[in-house]
Each structure stands twice: as C-alpha cells, then as structure tokens.
Symmetry: C2
C-alpha cells in the first residue's frame, strides 16, 4: 500500500474515464508515443491493466504486451480472460511466470498455470517452491468447476480454547496469510471446523475473550467436490462472506471467499443466457472469429435440420396447399407462435432451475402453472387470430382451424417448456443448451402438421 | 451467537436436506402436526425460514404464516421475494413490523417498508425512532436501482491521525455498528473519504500503528445516484469487498457491501435472460398466474402482429406460390434461419453490453466481427441448403434462389443483432426486451420477401 498524495474524491466522470483507458492507450500506441503508453499504464490497478490488454485488437495485442512486458503483474494476468491469457502467456519466460505466480493466492496461481502449454507448465512448476508445486497438483486433482478448484488453500485457523488476543498475535507468525479474509475458522484437534468468527466480531470484543464464547457454531462448509454452482447458491442464500471447504474426512482443505463467487454467478448466468440464445462456449468478446463461428454453427446446423424436417411435413400436405394457397400465407403463424410461447416457458424454467435449485417436488406444480398460463394466453391469442383470419379470408372453417391449431401448439409448448428442461436436468444434460432445439423442432412440426392436417381433413 | 453443542461437520446430504426443508414442513402442516411444524422451523436460519414460506403453495402460505407468526424475524422477511413479502405483510400488525425492522440494517429495513401499503407504512414509520424514520425518507429520495437505494447508512469511519488501537476502541462506542463490515473508511474533517483499511490489515498490524501509514489511499467510491448495474461492474472488476457511497459534496453517505452486489448481479442476469426469452417482469416463481400470463402476453401479441405482417408479405407472392407449391415447403427455412442467427448475435451483444459496459468505440468492431461470423456461417449454410434443395426439387434455380436469400438474411441478422441493441442502449431503451421483436420481424419479412421475390423474378 503506497503513501502517495491524496487524490481528489473520485467523481462519476473520472471513474468513467479510468474504467476505459484502453482507447487513450491505443491512440498513443498507434502514434508510437511509447512514453505516453508507459505513463498511462504505470501505477494502474491490475484489473485496469488486464482490461487494456483485453480491449486491444488481437493483432496489436502481442506488440503491446511485449512493450509493457515488465510492468504486467501476476495479478493482472489473473484478471485476464482465459482466451486472452492463453494468447499472451507464451511471451513470458518460465522464470517470469514463476515469479508472477509466486505472489498470487493459490486459486489465482492455478488459473494461470492451467493455461500454460505443457512443457512451459513443467518448467514453471520446477521453478516454484516445492510447497506451491504440491498445492497446484492438489488443486488440479479436484474435478473442474468444483469447490476444490475454486478455493484458496490459505486460511486462518484457531482453536476454541484460544483467546481473541492469541488469534491476533498468531497473524504475525502465519507465513502464507490470505491477502484478504473476512472470517477466522475455529477447528478441533483434527482440523475439522467447529465454528467461525468474523473479523468484525474479533475487533469488537476484548482481547481476553475466549474464542469458544463468541464463535458462531453454525459454520457452513462445503465438500471439495461440490459443484461451483451449488457453492454459489449456498453463498447467496445465506449472504456469506467466506466458507471453509472440507475434504472427505471433514478437515478444512481451503476457503472460498465471496469475490470468487461473484465470478461464478456471472459466468453461470452468461452461460445460461448464451446457451438459450443458441451460442455455446463463446464466453469471450476477444476470442477469434473462426472459433466464434464454429461455436454458433452447431446450433444453426441443428436449426437447419429442424427446418428441413418441417419442410418435409409441409410437403405432405401439398394437396391442401394447391387447393387453398391462403394456407401457405397463414401456416408460419402457428409454428412461430408455438415456438415463441415455448421459448418463454423454457426461459423461465431454465432460470428457475439455476436460481432455486428446483427439486423433484416442484416439477408437477411447475407444469401445472405453465399449462395454466399457456391455456389463458393460448385462448386469447386463438380468438384474436381466428377473428382476423375470418375477416381476411372470409372462410369461417379456416378461422376455426387456425385457432384450434394455435391453441394446441401453445398448450404443448407450455407443457414441453416446463417438462423438457426438468428431464434434461435430471439426466445431467444441460437444459439451457439442449432444450431449445427439442422445443423448436416439436413446435414447428406440431404447428404445421396440426394446421395443415386439420385443413386437409376439414376443407378437402 | 449461541453456544449449543457442536454439530457433526456437515456433509452434502445433510446440507441438501437442510436446503430443502419445505416438503417436510408441508407434510407436517397438511397432517396438522403443529408441534412438528414448530420443531422443524425453530432455530433455523432466517434464509431457510424465508425459503419455506416461499415454497409453500400460495393458498396455504397465509395459514402457515399465521401459525408461525411470532417466530418469523425481520431478517426472514428481508430474505423473502418481493411478491411473497407483499402477500404476507398484511398479517402483521404495524407494531410487529416496526419491531422487526428495528433490528435490521437500513437497506433491509427500506426493502420491507417499501412493500407496505400506504397507511400501514405511515403507522410503522410513526412507531419507529425518529432517526430511522429520517433514514428511510432519505433512502427513498434516491432514484430506484441507484447506489443510494442499495447502500446501508451504517459505516465505520476514522481519521487518518488515529492509531489502529483508537479504531478498535471506538468500535465499542459506535451505536449503530453494521452487523458485518469488511473495511473501515478513513475520512477528512469534511467526511470525505481519503483512504480505507480492511479489517484484516487492522488485525495484522500493531495497535500503535498510525492509520495514515497503512491505509489504502486509492479508495474507490461511487456517487449516490449511480445505477446499481454500474456499481456491480466496479465491484466485480476490482474484486472489492465493500465501497463507500458519496453524496453530491463528496461526503460519505453510506456503504455497499459485496453481498448486496451478488443479489444485483443475479437480478440483472435474470432480467436479461427473461427479457431475451420474451418474458417481462416475471422474476418470481411464486407470483400468481394471471400476472404471469399478462407479463408474457405482451411479447406474444407483438409476435402475432409480426407473424401477420409476414403473412401479408407472403400473400403478395400468391402467383409464385400457386405456380410452384414447393416454394411453400421451403419458405419457412429462410425466415427461421435468419431469426436463429439473429438471436445468437443479439444474445452475445446484449450480454456484452451488460458485462463489459461497451462504449462507443466498440460498436464498429462488434459489427465487423458479427458480419464476419455471419458471412462465414451464412456461406456454409447456404451451400448446404442449396445442395439439399437441388437434390430434393431437381430445380437448380430454386437451389440458387434459396441459398442467396439465406445468405443475405443471415448477413442482415448479423448486422442488426450487433447494431440494434447498441442503438437501443444509447437511447436508453432496454436492448434485452426491445431488440428481439425488431429482429424477428425484420428477419421474417426480409426472409419471405427475398426468397419469394427472387423466385417471382427468376421463375415466373
């Protein structure tokens, strides 16, 4: 922490500019004003440094990093998005990476180590102290997206028999103190958590107070292999600031702090949003275009198959279309409206699955709820559409046919939108990505088949 | 904090059961085993109490709340979703609500006060100490979703001339200490922030250390009227644990802690997801069905208008459809694929607007990027579709026509998906809700018009 002269209190304008230094740096860089580039990027927060690197166009990014090389801290590297970090890491020597990693907490260090290429990773690991190497190997032994991957190994522990004064004095001796921590965990002889004390509680009680007297015995903990989404749910539900992570034997293995959780929540939400929008894996604005195209092609290709299936269904009703061309004008409506209503239901269900951790008992009530909503909106829309069709075509039968087809398709979409994501969730498929295609294929096929099928039956 | 016997360390199973007590409580409630209901709900975390109340079906919920009445704390009320809180608050007397609010921090107290009906609110306010009443009026004077609404007024302040020992001693005297806090703010004579010290820094330095020597002078703060989404962005970017909120004169008005921010991030993400899925305002699984239907009807009605416009466009090409019925089989493909590609682009852009706070410079590069992706995927899909169409219909011209129409519609969707949300964002409309309808109307109309128009030109 430095002792510079105090800045004036920040205002919206200055903070806004600070949040977006990249354009200024890029102008200076383009004009080859290197001093200006250094001046703009010296003494900035590592997060700001990471932001500048990220916002630079990929083709200029490497040159910028070469230039700023020595001023990029390990912390700045840990703030980068994975795709960008992978791009720039080869510019550093293994000694530089090892030095950068050494200053980080174990969770951030693991992030960077994982993005290194294999031989580089081995070199960096060899340059690290044995203890850090073991810690990394341990972290990597936990499943991806688990509490074990998310946690840092640096924790502050104490015994229930201590006084608060002893905790405070012990902080001077602990070698790897976490940079920020909010709670001290109280453990028994086996290192199993039996309580916790927040720092603000320690500060507001006299030094002689016994830990056991004021500790919170209802300490919540999570096992190392718990999925990060579940961990985030528990943090959020109980407004926690930190939580110990325990191994199979119930001993404390590390700690997760609330700032790690913010990233998890943001990632999981982005994931759901993008997948519902038909985009997989594209979590970065800064990745390359070929990758981005591929990540979207899959869903578009499935949509194309879906459309072709729908076309084949339509072709079955050639006779009806030849006799009544007006059916061709109207038929996209039924399919489209079913798809739209289905997407609404799907979105609500997928979001509920993420936020509320829906369990077995809920699916029946969720389906009832969605069917009721579908029945209400389906009826109103069917009446409106029937009336408009009657006015337009002057054909009462077609008006009734289209209304019925719409109503049934919307009802189907209400049922499917609640049921499909739940089933996918149960069989451990990701509802956000898999439910959309199933939904739109069925609403298209059912929409066209119902409308043209009823028309064939009634009109021909 | 109680001194109960220590529980065994929690495992996944127990925590899973604890997280979902509602079904057990509901069975006991249905069997009228009131003692069991009380046993299950006594000494549980307020968040668990709130969860049980929420998960109860609306028709039984009021009876449950009447039963548990005296055991529902103010904190439990603050954990409830707004729609549920509004439903149950009338069951409490104004004295009860006042007592419940009195134990809460100012931000949570304001949450509950806001959900009261007007005369009840007046009664509760009158029952509160003058100071709390003024604090609430002040909170309400800030714009909705602003930092001022989010913050709590309880903060711990010190002077740069103090020693750490003085801070610690002062904690005993402060009347309204925040229940949890992570940082102490250092202020000048005018109450303007000049630094901050995290509690862990206070604990690891000797009592005689001078505040000015170790404080972090780069304290970030936000103005009271800043939008909560911007506040969340700053928290996340710099991994902050708390941040002071300053008034127009730059004086500290309150503090926002990271646990408030988690809720903001979750809410904003849900908002984006639901709006992209065509659902407005339905943030609750527990609200009633009529409201839920209405919140979805708007988007369905707009979709219906959109479909009807597309139908009118199709009707313009009656001649082509009568001569070549195969056009009717194929025409939904072009419209659909444009819509799907557009939804992908839209989703990525809307998410980027929320996460990265995109600013002017980015839109041009975003459009370039999206057009490149659209060109790549559009070309590949057009080739596939042209070949399939040629094989199916044996008509080369129709194959070329459908390929061209698809390519142009996908290109349009790439441009529009990046441009429309940006423009809406600039004119302060919500891109997540408004961009979808614009996108799908244009891809439908352009899709049908291009395909049938080209067919009319070339085939007739």
């Amino acid at each position: 922490m430095d002792e510079k002269n105090l800045d004036p209190p920040p205002h919206l304008e200055t903070s806004d500019q600070e949040l977006n230094l990249a354009p200024q740096v890029e102008s200076a860089f383009d004009a080859e004003m290197w001093d200006e580039v250094f001046a703009l990027t010296s003494n900035i927060h590592p997060a700001d440094m990471a932001d500048i690197i990220q916002q630079f166009p990929p083709q200029k990014r490497l040159r910028l990093v070469e230039l700023l090389h020595t001023t990029i801290s390990g912390e700045a590297l840990s703030f980068l998005e994975e795709s960008v970090r992978e791009q720039i890491l080869p510019l550093f020597t293994s000694a530089e990476v090892a030095a950068a990693i050494h200053e980080l907490e174990s969770d951030d260090a693991a992030l960077i180590l994982e993005d290194l290429q294999e031989d580089m990773q081995r070199e960096v690991l060899e340059a690290l102290p044995l203890e850090e190497r073991i810690s990394f190997e341990k972290t990597r032994s936990y499943p991806e997206y688990s509490a074990g991957r998310l946690m840092q190994r640096e924790v502050v522990l104490c015994s229930p028999n201590w006084t608060l004064g002893q905790i405070i004095d012990s902080l001077e001796d602990i070698e790897h103190l976490p940079e920020h921590f909010y709670d001290v965990y109280v453990v028994d002889e086996d290192n199993k958590p039996v309580g916790e004390i927040s720092l603000s509680w320690i500060l507001r009680h006299p030094r002689r107070t016994q830990v056991a007297k004021i500790m919170n015995t209802e300490v919540r903990s999570v096992p190392v292999n718990l999925d990060q989404e579940e961990v985030a749910y528990i943090f959020q539900r109980y407004s926690l600031s930190s939580m110990p992570v325990i191994d199979q034997e119930g001993r404390i293995a590390g700690m997760i702090t609330v700032d790690d959780i913010i990233d998890v929540i943001q990632e999981e939400a982005s994931d759901d949003i993008l997948k519902l929008g038909g985009v997989t894996q594209e979590t970065s604005l800064y990745g390359n275009i070929i990758q981005a195209s591929l990540s979207r092609f899959g869903w578009l290709f499935i949509s194309l198959i879906n459309c072709l299936i729908a076309s084949v269904v339509i072709a079955h009703f050639e006779q009806a279309l030849e006799n009544f061309v007006v059916l061709a004008f109207l038929m996209p409506i039924v399919a489209s409206m079913g798809g739209n209503a289905g997407m609404q239901t799907l979105t609500v269900t997928v979001r509920s699955l993420s936020i509320y951790n829906l369990r077995a008992g809920h699916v029946v009530s969720a389906i009832k709820r969605e069917l009721s909503i579908a029945a209400l909106n389906g009826l109103v829309l069917a009446l409106i559409l029937s009336s408009i069709t009657l006015l337009w075509t002057g054909n009462l039968k077609i008006g009734i046919i289209i209304g019925l087809a719409l109503l049934f398709n919307v009802l189907w979409s209400g049922f499917a939108g609640a049921f499909i994501p739940y089933v996918l969730h149960r069989i451990n498929l990701d509802p956000a990505i898999s439910a959309g295609p199933i939904m739109s294929t069925t609403t298209d096929v059912i929409g066209f088949a119902l409308f043209l099928g009823l028309a064939t039956l009634i009109l021909l």
